[in-house]
Structure formats: structure tokens, C-alpha cells
Symmetry: C2
Subunit: 137 residues, 2 copies
């Protein structure tokens, strides 16, 4: 069992902290009573998905002895129009540069999205997840 | 449709950025090849849940003309033991200090978890979510 503590700092600014001791700061937009000093919770959510699968992919590629020059994941989300506006679709587009073979990248993405990444696989229970990739030298 | 970009900075360190332009930094533990310089993706995930429902609760309480002196949410997560170790249970314990009535806090938490918070309500599709609260003067 894990534990995360999330504290109100001021206004709408919150600090989240888990076992590592490092913090995540979140704030809402001015229009929502916040001071726009940090990312929104929804942005932290999607960033966590990208970080999770990104770490998998880079670590699998390294095990295959291929180091990407760069790795960037674009996540497009679709949400229900009515409250609570749940996440309905997620598309992850992996942009890789460097000497990475298509076969290896495909395998790494597949392993992350179907086997290793707890965030993608948790989301898979509620949203349709699709992926694509682009490799450039 | 929203868009989030998550980039590999170095090693296992990733930066995530959504529409607000603010960043979320993530890193893995030394044992996982990272440099332990920032929160883990799973920590960012649970922090996002706490930030989301925390913002709801504080904003609903303020609309009820009650300003909590402090608000802290402890999130306990349970995950499957086998890969991909999906999230199976979440318990949120809201700690509030100040002149906040039990009735108002209960209502605010209920509205957030069942109506307003997209993260809690997305998770509700995959994990059992429970909550509790503690009010101190």
C-alpha cells in the first residue's frame, strides 16, 4: 500500500508528496480562483502517464542497446462533455530521434502499454488507448 | 481535446507540460536507473487525484462561506501484485482544521467524488474508492 499526502498551501495551490519525498505543485487558473503558479491536476495526471510509459520505453530500448537521441510523447485526451468529464480516449504519439529500429520501438511501446506501465494499464479499464510513433534520424 | 507533451530530459528524468505551460518533473529511483531528482510518475498520479478533489472541496467550502484553516488529503492506494500492477483501491482521508461543519465538509467531499472531480470519477471505473474525514478546530 502506498501513501501520498496532498496539502493546501494557499488559495488553490496544492503540494503533493509521496514516498520519494519529492513534491508535485499544482494550482488552478485565475478564472478558477487560483494563481496560475503551477500545473493543473489534469496536466499532472496526463504527465504522469507520459512519464510512466516514457520511462518504460527508454529503459526497454536501453536494454536492447539502443539509446534514443530524444524521446517525446504527445498525449491527446478526450473527455466526456458532461460533469464529471471523465477521460474517455487517450492517444499517445511517441516521437523518437536517433538510431532506433522501428521493430524495437514498436516492441517497447507495446510492452509498456500492455504489460509494464501501471498508469496506462489502469486507464485501459476506463478509456480507449491508442498509440502511434514517429522515428527520425 | 487536450494535449500534454512529455519529454525525456536525461537519464530517466522527464518533463511534462500541458496547456498552462507549467511543468511537472518526474524521475525514477537510483535502483531503476534514475537520479532520484523528482517525484515518480505514480506519485504524480496520486498527487493529481488529491489536487483535483482538494481544489473541489476548498472551492465548495468557500462557496459555503467557510474557509478551512488547513486541508490535507492522505491518499492510500492499493495495487495489484502482478504486472502491470494496476490501481485496485484508493482511500482518501480528508484532514481539515478550522471552523468547518461536518455537514458542509461531507457534502463537499461527496460532490467532488461523485460529480465534479474528473480524476476521482475516472478512477471510479477501475478502482474501489472510499473516503473518510477528520475535522479539528
Amino acid at each position: 500500500m502506498g501513501k501520498t499526502v496532498v496539502k493546501l498551501i494557499k488559495g488553490m495551490k496544492f503540494l503533493g508528496q509521496g514516498k520519494s519525498g519529492h513534491s508535485i505543485i499544482m494550482d488552478s487558473a485565475l478564472a478558477s480562483g487560483g494563481s496560475d503558479s503551477a500545473a493543473r491536476p489534469m496536466e499532472a495526471l496526463f504527465a504522469s502517464l507520459g512519464g510512466c510509459t516514457g520511462m518504460d520505453v527508454v529503459s526497454i530500448l536501453r536494454k536492447m542497446k539502443t539509446e534514443p537521441k530524444s524521446l517525446e510523447i504527445e498525449i491527446e485526451d478526450e473527455r466526456a462533455t458532461d460533469y464529471p468529464k471523465v477521460v474517455t480516449k487517450l492517444h499517445l504519439n511517441y516521437h523518437v530521434t536517433g538510431k532506433v529500429s522501428e521493430e524495437n520501438l514498436k516492441k517497447a511501446i507495446h510492452l509498456s502499454l500492455t504489460k509494464y506501465c501501471p498508469i496506462a494499464n489502469s486507464f485501459a479499464g476506463i478509456a480507449e488507448i491508442t498509440s502511434s510513433y514517429v522515428i527520425k534520424p
